[in-house]
């Protein structure tokens, strides 16, 4: 079995000699029809932190020379033919995406609301009612309703923050993907597809937006391969 990392155009550089990936297995390119898929022998085991970092190290290695299409971690092929048939099945789509994204990388923003629950108050626990006691069951259900309403409000706040931040980049015309990750509090996530030559300008814009983003802390990561812009 083979562990898949990413797809590239054949005209772009192959893996560095001696490059080893997940579980120390050598990375090799498989080519068909002008497309290449980077693979290594698979041990068919799960996503430990070490393996995730090893996988990403290979994708980032590819990213250095030209933007690849990153495969989701855990993509496994039964053999080389299976991997190459996969390239055939979506060849036109992969080639189009690779050429469209060849000079772009993904940058990630985490938008973290600064307001937190007050001391001693956890939003994942029902608050005790201070009104006249009804039946315990009714009191519990009412408390649960308040908790769910709080969570819904937090998610809406997080979404509004992501929308607000993304609008601050509107004039740059960057493709973007917005999402909110559940948590306490929920964290907004924004991915932008940025041209390589514009990364410095993008960083300056992030600093500017962060200074004006009242109520949120913004953390930037990347560049990444375009994980958020492929399926």
């Amino acid at each position: 079995m083979l562990h898949g990392y990413c797809i590239r155009l054949a005209e772009h550089p192959p893996p560095d000699a001696g490059l080893s990936g997940v579980d120390g297995k050598p990375v090799a390119p498989l080519e068909r029809g002008g497309l290449v898929i980077w693979v290594s022998a698979s041990t068919a085991t799960g996503p430990s932190m070490i393996r995730l970092r090893e996988h990403e190290r290979i994708v980032r290695s590819a990213l250095r020379s030209a933007t690849p299409l990153p495969l989701r971690f855990g993509t496994v092929f039964s053999d080389e033919r299976d991997a190459l048939d996969t390239l055939d099945a979506r060849h036109q789509e992969f080639e189009r995406l690779l050429r469209e994204m060849s000079d772009r990388v993904e940058m990630g923003l985490r938008i973290i609301p600064l307001e937190e629950p007050g001391p001693g108050e956890r939003v994942d626990e029902p608050r005790r009612s201070t009104t006249s006691p009804g039946s315990p069951g009714r009191e519990y259900l009412e408390a649960r309703r308040r908790v769910l309403a709080d969570r819904s409000a937090e998610m809406e706040t997080a979404r509004a923050l992501v929308d607000q931040v993304d609008r601050s980049f509107e004039d740059l015309g960057l493709p973007s993907v917005r999402s909110v990750l559940r948590g306490s509090p929920p964290v907004g996530s924004l991915a932008h597809l940025v041209q390589r030559r514009s990364l410095s300008a993008y960083h300056r814009r992030v600093e500017q937006v962060a200074r004006g983003a009242g109520g949120a802390r913004i953390e930037v990561s990347g560049p990444w391969a375009p994980y958020s812009f492929v399926r």
């Binding site: 855990g74 996530s189 962060a210």
Partner: protein, 89 residues
């Protein structure tokens, strides 16, 4: 007061004009949350279900939160084999 922080403080010290992609990528290790979010929830999906195994238990990946919980459990179970790895709180 809000602030922008890169994955590593060194990113903001780079010169404004980048000469090579090695300058861009450097050796900064991405935060765990960003890594997990991208590798397990995004990217090209070749087959319908990506079957993964954590601590010897086969799971069909359903969503980021489920995996984070499972990974946290796996960290406790695997213990010393993951010693020294940063924890994203």
């Amino acid at each position: 007061m809000s602030d922008a922080r890169a994955g590593s403080p060194a990113a903001w010290d780079r010169p404004p004009e980048l000469e090579t992609w090695a300058d861009v990528l450097g050796d900064d290790a991405p935060s765990l949350a960003e890594l997990v979010n991208r590798l397990l929830d995004r990217g090209v999906v070749i087959s319908g279900d990506v079957t993964i195994s954590i601590a010897g238990i086969d799971l069909v990946y359903l969503g980021l939160n489920a995996v984070l919980t499972s990974v946290a459990t796996a960290r406790k179970q695997l213990g010393p084999s993951l010693a020294g790895e940063p924890v994203e709180e």
